[in-house]
């Protein structure tokens, strides 16, 4: 019973806090670059504005174009329901293990890319093409990193992994370290942050993700933006579940939830700062340097795997 409660709580937390986290990242970034920040709540205002606006739809937009935002939003929510953000006591966690999770993000991307090509603009196609290229390189690396962990825990179910790792406190494993590094790089790539992509840019030729959703407006755009924030948030949560699961409430420990929430906030805060450091430290790469970037991620993951077999 309380499982259901926890689920609902998690999803609401996800939906509610995602913009906040995005705002936090923006804010820290501005501070670091010595600008005045629009404040922590700016993302909420943006979303509100977008929701209240009418939609301008290209005359040749097909149903795919209109269907996509909802689908993306939906998949992210389902993903949120299986990732142990607060607690591992999730009835739905059986629904999808970590491979399915990757699959869920993939289907969202699939439709976003289709939507990018739907209108038939040059930028849309460019965006989709590049996005799929990046994804096709990122996905194996991602799975490789995850496999390292799941081989360690003999499971691919996120909750299970979180439980195992938090129960046995073996953080100091080389394999995990490598896997974590790989995961960070991939998280950056998957969420289109610098140096892979620049969410803030509007210089068309450098856009990846932005280029695909160029034609969106109104609530559609809002949904997509929101889903984006949630995705970022989720990746942080996955990272914490995979590598720093301490604080996540164990099964039938409803009391642990508040503490878990606190831990979550702290972790996210730290993660946000780290993200900002990376983003300000690096410049955006040229498209074809990305292969090296993601290749590096894959290498890390592989090293993690090997060290798991060799050293442990």
């Amino acid at each position: 019973m309380e499982g259901i409660v926890v689920e609902i709580l998690q999803v609401t937390v996800l939906i509610a806090l995602a913009p906040l986290f995005a705002g936090w990242v923006k804010m820290v970034k501005c501070r670091l670059q010595g600008r005045t920040s629009p404040g922590l709540l700016q993302p909420y205002r943006d979303l509100k504005k977008l929701f209240s606006k009418d939609i301008v739809l290209a005359e040749n937009a097909s149903w795919i174009f209109r269907f996509t935002p909802y689908l993306v939003f939906g998949t992210v929510i389902i993903a949120g329901a299986v990732v142990p953000i607060l607690s591992t006591d999730l009835p739905l966690s059986l629904t999808a293990d970590v491979i399915v999770l990757v699959g869920l993000f993939a289907i969202a991307r699939f439709f976003t890319a289709l939507a990018g090509m739907d209108i038939g603009t040059a930028f849309g196609g460019m965006g989709s093409s590049r996005e799929m290229m990046v994804a096709s390189l990122a996905e194996p690396a991602m799975l490789m990193a995850i496999f390292t962990v799941s081989l360690l825990c003999k499971s691919t179910s996120l909750t299970r992994i979180a439980e195992v790792i938090s129960s046995a406190g073996f953080i100091a494993k080389p394999s995990l370290a490598f896997a974590f590094l790989a995961f960070v790089l991939i998280a950056i790539a998957e969420n289109g942050r610098i140096p892979v992509d620049n969410p803030a840019t509007h210089l068309e030729l450098t856009m990846l993700h932005e280029a695909m959703i160029l034609e969106y407006s109104g609530r559609h755009l809002a949904l997509i933006e929101w889903a984006g924030m949630m995705k970022l948030f989720l990746f942080m949560a996955i990272g914490s579940a995979l590598f720093f699961p301490f604080g996540i409430a164990a099964t039938d420990n409803i009391a642990g939830i508040p503490a878990a929430l606190l831990f979550l906030v702290l972790k996210l805060g730290a993660a946000g700062v780290a993200l900002v450091l990376i983003e300000t430290g690096l410049a955006k790469m040229r498209l074809f340097r990305l292969t090296e970037f993601l290749g590096g991620a894959f290498l890390m993951a592989t090293l993690g795997m090997l060290s798991f077999f060799i050293l442990e």
């Binding site: 929701f51 209240s52 009418d54 939609i55 301008v56 739809l57 290209a58 005359e59 040749n60 097909s62 909802y70 689908l71 939003f73 939906g74 998949t75 929510i77 389902i78 329901a81 739905l92 059986l94 629904t95 999808a96 293990d97 399915v100 699959g103 869920l104 993939a106 289907i107 699939f110 289709l114 990018g116 090509m117 739907d118 038939g120 603009t121 040059a122 930028f123 849309g124 196609g125 460019m126 093409s129 799929m132 290229m133 096709s136 996905e139 490789m144 081989l151 499971s155 691919t156 299970r160 068309e204 160029l214 034609e215 109104g218 949904l223 498209l287 074809f288 894959f298 592989t302 077999f309």
Partner: protein, 680 residues
């Protein structure tokens, strides 16, 4: 008497009769099409039913026909394995037969429909017979009937030279494969019962026999070569992307969808049923070739801009994925890990069924597009989703399934394969342990690239503006074609969301082949959850994902539409760029460009850009871009081989050089030599 094998046999006979009597209705082709395809649909349905029944109840039945060789009559046997493949073949050919009613109508008056019908029926019958055959002779007969029928179908539009070349290449490779298979059966027969009698050629004899490992290896390698040639495993794949596209689309659907599966059937039959015991490295070979085929197949596919050729290359990829599952199963079996072997095997077989469905669906869709636009080149398509909404939906289902995206069927089987990969640490063999996860990563890469490829396909063909001539009379296809595609799409969804039923259904199969049931653990959490090993190990529930996405979608939609803002239809914004023309869209080639850049070293790429100079270099008048991507294997393997053969042929021609004296000398020398040999 109503037993599965009788039903199956009846359906074969029905098909043969339909095919051979097609000539009678030559005059009235409309009627001919309707009658023959409905009959073949019926036959396929019967076969499917018998197959499902057999597997469900684990029945094994035999018939011995009074024909064939006097000492080696034709043996028929329907067991779980053949039942499974019969289901696969029957199901797709059922859909395709219905689809064909509408599709083939398009040929009336333009092409010899009767020929198509005859060989269509023979082709399906041949495939059924292959699954039924229980002795080497009948197997080969059916195998070659299947090959010959499909050969004539590939030659259907025979006025085009490339079709003939493709058909020839196909036939030769197929026949060489058949010879290898024949040899391997010969080896097994010799070891099982000796050549004194023909009894050795029955599969039963081979099942009883104990093979010394080196001879078993010979037999396996021969058989694997033969079947791989048929399945289009790299590097024997070269014929496939030539032959499949040029056939009529309903045939391409069958060839890619199920004919390749007969080769998979052969591999499974020979390894798991006839030879039974084998060293692990056999599996390693299969696994490696599977991986290579998967990754190379999808990369080659990405480079194509001919819709059907692209799909054909994807068949290579998916055959690779299937072989990965089977290879893993072989490795686990050789290490005596039945449970895991069962998982891997079921993963492979599941993907066999899934691939049959979605590849059939995709080819049917391609056929529909071809039927409407008379165009195979994607660079000339676009925006079809507005003209052909239904086809678009079905094709999209196919794309999602083949890209291994949840909640559709392609994902389930690849997910199971991943699980099988993750079990590799329990292997005793160190090197395998290390290499397995790499394989998993390659599989992931394959999946991701496939997704990219099908974004390209759907985006370029159905979305955007039409790139080619805007002919107005493009229209949605008729009911039968839609029905065929719809049923296939629904099957894709069903297989995606209800995997547990499939796994329970195939229990008999895995038990008979590797001696372990999967359902015990896989469906432990009830039909809702698929838990291959144990719930805490890994779990997936397609249906919940499906419904969950739908629910989330619905809720959000409702929430946002309590008071929706208005929707203005406006001109395309495109960052305020106004002079947008269809030719500025990304097309197939440009979409694949980044990936081509990255993996270019795998292909022979010829690319050059000619810029017509203008007053100012910054504003060229016109720009001509030329790109040609070719398959390295062609130059590595096939060219040298043919060259060698022709060299020998020239040498052999020297014998016949025209002067009668020389001929007399031959005869004279022969005499002398023989006399010497004799007297020595």
């Amino acid at each position: 008497m109503m037993t599965p094998i009788n039903i199956a046999a009846t359906s074969v006979v029905l098909l043969l009769i339909t095919g051979l009597s097609a000539g009678l209705l030559r005059r009235n082709q409309g009627l001919l099409i309707r009658v023959s395809f409905i009959l073949s649909a019926l036959a396929s349905f019967m076969a499917t039913a018998s197959g499902i029944w057999t597997v469900k109840n684990g029945i094994t039945e035999k018939i011995i026909l009074p024909i064939g060789l006097p000492d080696l009559p034709f043996h028929l046997r329907l067991d779980a394995l053949s039942g499974f493949f019969m289901t696969v073949i029957g199901l797709l050919s059922f859909f395709v037969s219905i689809y064909s009613i509408g599709y083939v109508k398009g040929f009336i008056g333009r092409r010899p429909v009767t020929r198509l019908v005859v060989f269509y029926c023979l082709f399906i019958a041949g495939m059924f017979m292959v699954t039924l055959a229980d002795d080497a002779l009948f197997f080969l007969v059916s195998w070659e009937i299947m090959a010959a029928a499909s050969y004539f179908l590939v030659m259907f539009e025979d006025e085009k030279v490339e079709n003939r070349r493709a058909a020839f290449l196909y036939m030769v490779v197929a026949h060489v494969g058949a010879i290898a298979i024949l040899l391997s059966f010969g080896v097994m027969a010799g070891l099982s019962a000796g050549f004194e009698s023909f009894s050795g050629f029955t599969f039963d004899a081979m099942r009883q026999a104990q093979f010394p490992v080196e001879w078993a290896t010979v037999a396996f390698l021969l058989a694997f070569f033969g079947f791989a040639a048929k399945a289009g495993v790299i590097p024997l794949h070269v014929w496939l992307p030539e032959a499949h596209p040029v056939a009529p689309s309903n045939i391409s659907a069958l060839m890619s969808g199920v004919m390749l599966k007969t080769a998979i059937y052969g591999i499974v039959r020979v390894t798991f049923d006839l030879l039974r015991v084998f060293p692990w490295w056999w599996g390693a070979i299969v696994l490696t070739l599977g991986l290579v085929s998967a990754i190379m197949g999808v990369l080659y596919a990405l480079m194509q801009h001919d819709l059907k050729k692209l799909l054909a290359y994807h068949s290579v990829e998916n055959i690779g994925i299937i072989l990965i599952g089977i290879g893993l199963a072989m490795i686990f079996t050789s290490f005596k890990m039945p449970m895991m072997a069962a998982l891997a095997l079921i993963a492979g077989l599941y993907h066999t069924l899934n691939h049959a469905m979605f590849k059939g669906l995709l080819f049917m869709g391609a056929g529909a597009v071809l039927h409407a636009t008379h165009e195979r080149n994607m660079e000339k398509m676009g925006g079809l989703i507005r003209r052909m909404p239904w086809t678009a939906v079905f094709f999209l289902v196919g794309c999602i399934s083949i890209s291994a995206l949840p909640p559709f069927n392609g994902f389930v089987s690849e997910w199971l394969t991943f699980q099988a990969f993750l079990l590799s640490p329990s292997m005793p063999n160190q090197i395998m342990k290390l290499l397995m996860p790499m394989g998993a990563a390659l599989l992931a890469l394959t999946g991701a690239l496939a997704a990219a490829c099908f974004v390209k396909v759907f985006g370029v063909v159905f979305l955007g503006h039409s790139r080619g001539h805007h002919n107005q009379n493009i229209h949605e296809v008729d009911w039968s074609m839609r029905a065929g595609m719809m049923m296939a799409s629904l099957t894709c969804l069903a297989l995606g969301v209800l995997p547990t039923f499939f796994i329970e259904w195939t229990d008999v199969l895995s038990e008979s082949l590797v001696g372990a049931k999967l359902s015990a653990s896989a469906a432990a959490g009830g039909w809702l959850w698929l838990t291959p090993i144990a719930p805490e190990r890994a779990s997936y529930s397609g249906i919940i994902v499906f419904l969950g996405i739908l629910a989330a979608y619905g809720i959000v939609y409702v929430v946002l539409h309590v008071n929706p803002g208005k929707i203005h239809r406006g001109a395309i914004w495109d960052c305020g760029f106004e002079k947008l023309t269809p030719r500025m869209q990304y097309n197939a080639t440009s979409f694949a460009m980044p990936i081509r850049r990255i993996f270019g070293f795998l292909f022979l790429i010829k690319e050059d850009v000619q810029i017509k100079k203008a007053p100012h270099p910054a504003f060229p008048k016109r720009l001509h871009y030329f790109l040609r991507v070719r398959d390295r294997f062609w130059f590595w393997i096939y060219m040298p081989f043919t060259a060698a053969v022709f060299w020998i042929a020239r040498k052999a021609g020297r014998f016949q050089q025209g002067r009668i004296q020389t001929y007399l000398i031959y005869s004279f020398l022969t005499l002398i030599v023989l006399l010497l040999v004799k007297s020595l």
